[in-house]
Amino acid sequence: MLGTRELEINLGPQHPSTHGVLRVKLKLDGETIVESDPVIGYLHRGCEKLGENRNYIQTEVYTDRMDYIAAINENLVYIEAVEKLLGVEAAPRAQYMRVILAELQRIASHLVWLATHALDIGAMSVFLYCFREREAILDLIEGYCGARLTTNAIRAGGMRLDFPDGWTGAAKDFCDEFPARLKEYDTLLKTNRIWMGRTKDIGVISGEKALSYGITGPCLRASGVNYDVRKAMPYEVYSEMEFDVPLGSVGDTYDRYLVRLEEMRQSRLIVLQALAKMPEGPVMNKVPKRIKPPAGEVYVVNEGPRGELGVYLVSNGTDTAERCRFKSPCFVNLQALPELAKGHMVADIVALIGTLDIVLGCIDR
C-alpha cells in the first residue's frame, strides 16, 4: 500500500497561538499528533539568580515580570514568603486590600485566558469583549498603584498606600456590572455546538494523573480534585471569605473552561465580601527599613490564577537570599501537554495550549 510519512512541524517560537515564545515540536500523521515536545527557555532571564544577588526589596520587582498577566499574585506570594521569613504580619486592613487586589487580578488573568483561548478556537468577538472587562480591572489596578501590569504593589508588612478616594466604589461598580458581562460570554460559547465540539473530550486527564503531573489550579480542579490553596491552607484573610471551589468531572477542555468561568464569579464574590468587611486602620505594620531576616527557610504557596505559585526562600542572615526559588504552575502544567495532545489533531494543540493557560514569563522565569 501507499505509505505516508510522518510530518514534523515546528509550532513556534514565533507563532500566533503559542502565547509567547513557546516552541512545540510536533510529529504528525496526517493531521493527527503522534508526538509533541514543548521546548522552552526562550524567555529565561534568570530571575532566581537575580533573586540571589539582589536584596529582598529589589527582588520583588522581578516577580512582576514572571507572570506578567497576574503580577499581583506573584507579588503577594513573594512578599508572604519574606514576611514569614522575617516573622512579621501584614496590617489587618492591608490583608483585605491584598485579597481584593489578588482576586481582581485573578479575574483579569482569567479574562485574558478566555480571550486568547476563544481566539485560538476562532471565536473572535469573545476576545474583544474579555479585553474590555480586563481593561476595567487594569484601570482599577492602575488607579491604585500607577502601573497596569508590573504592579509591585505589595510591601512586607502591609501595603505601601491605602486605596485612593473613590477606589472602593469603582471596584464595587465593576463587580456589579460584571455578571451581565459573564452572561454575554456564556451566550456566545457555553452551549455553542462548535465550541462544545472543539472543547469536549479534548485533552482529558484524570485527577490522579493530573496530581502525578503536579498540575494545580483550575486544570487540576477540572479533573475533580478539590485542591485550592485558598481553602486548604488559607493565607491572608481567605479563611473569612465564603466562596465555593468549582470542580469539574471529566477533566477535558470544556470542564476547564467551566471551572475558570465559575472561578471568576467566585472571585467577584470574594472581592465584594472583602470590600464590605475591610476594617479601617493603618495599612503598614512596623518593619525594619533594611530587611535582614534571620537564617532559615520558608516555602510558601499561594493560589495563583494558573495554579499553585510557590516561593522557596533560604535566608543566610544577610539582606540577600541564599536561595530564591520560584515555583511556576505554568511550567508544571505545560509538562502535561504531550500527554494531553496525543492522538488529537493539529487544531487541538492550540486549544490545549490555551486551556493550560500558560504564560511564558512564568515558565521560563
Partner: protein, 195 residues
C-alpha cells in the same frame, strides 16, 4: 478554624510545631532520616540519597502520609554554606491533598554524583529534575530524558551555581563580551582585542 490567622502564618517559636507526617516517617523508617527539624513551623526531613526512593515511595503510598503532590523540586548550591560537605541539596516540597499537610525532604549530593530520580514516583519530577540539572549540573540517576531545559543545548555551564558570575562570562552563547561606553556591554562575534 479557630483563629482567624492560619497557623502557618504565625511562625512563633514558643509554640512547638508538630507534624503527623514527619512523626509517621520517623516511626516507620527511623534509620532513613538523617536529620529532622522545623523551620518557621514547617517540617523538614533530610534523607540519604541511597534511601531516597524508598522514603519517597513510602511518603506517597502510606495512608497516613499520602503525599500525592510533589509541589516543587529544586536544587540548591551550598558551596559557601557547607564548604566541607556535599555541595548540593535537592529539595522536595511535598503536599498531601487528602490530609492537607506538607513536608520538605532534602537530600545532599556531592558535585559529580547523581541523585536518584523520582520521576517514577511523580511524573512532574521530570521537568523539575531537568531544570535542576540545567541550573546546577546535578545528575539524576534513572531520569528518562535528562537534557537542558531552559538554557540552550550547547551551553556548557550551570548558571545557578554560586561560582557562575551574575553578569555572565567572557564568552557565552558563542559571543564575546565587550565593555561599552556607559557601563554596558555589547556582544560581538570576534574576541575583543585586549588592551
Amino acid at each position: 478554624m479557630a483563629t482567624t490567622e492560619p497557623p502557618e502564618e504565625n511562625g512563633s517559636v514558643e509554640q512547638a510545631p508538630t507534624s503527623a507526617a514527619l512523626d509517621r516517617l520517623l516511626a516507620a523508617m527511623p534509620d532513613a532520616v538523617v536529620e529532622s527539624e522545623f523551620q518557621r513551623g514547617a517540617p523538614i526531613a533530610r534523607v540519604a540519597p541511597a534511601r531516597l526512593l524508598e522514603v519517597m515511595t513510602f511518603l506517597r503510598d502510606d495512608p497516613a502520609c499520602r503525599f500525592e503532590l510533589l509541589s516543587d523540586l529544586c536544587g540548591m548550591d551550598l558551596g559557601m554554606v557547607r564548604p566541607d560537605g556535599e555541595r548540593f541539596d535537592v529539595v522536595y516540597h511535598l503536599y498531601s491533598v487528602e490530609h492537607s499537610h506538607v513536608l520538605t525532604v532534602k537530600t545532599a549530593v556531592a558535585d559529580g554524583t547523581d541523585a536518584p530520580s523520582v520521576t517514577g514516583i511523580w511524573l512532574t519530577a521530570n521537568w523539575h529534575e531537568r531544570e535542576a540539572f540545567d541550573m546546577f549540573g546535578i545528575g539524576f540517576a534513572g531520569h528518562p530524558d535528562l537534557r537542558r531545559i531552559l538554557m540552550p543545548d550547547e551551553f556548557d555551564a550551570f548558571p545557578l551555581r554560586k561560582d557562575f558570575p551574575l553578569e555572565g562570562r567572557e564568552k557565552d552563547h558563542g559571543y564575546w563580551r565587550q565593555p561599552g561606553d556607559d557601563d554596558r556591554y555589547t556582544y560581538v562575534a570576534e574576541p575583543p582585542e585586549k588592551k
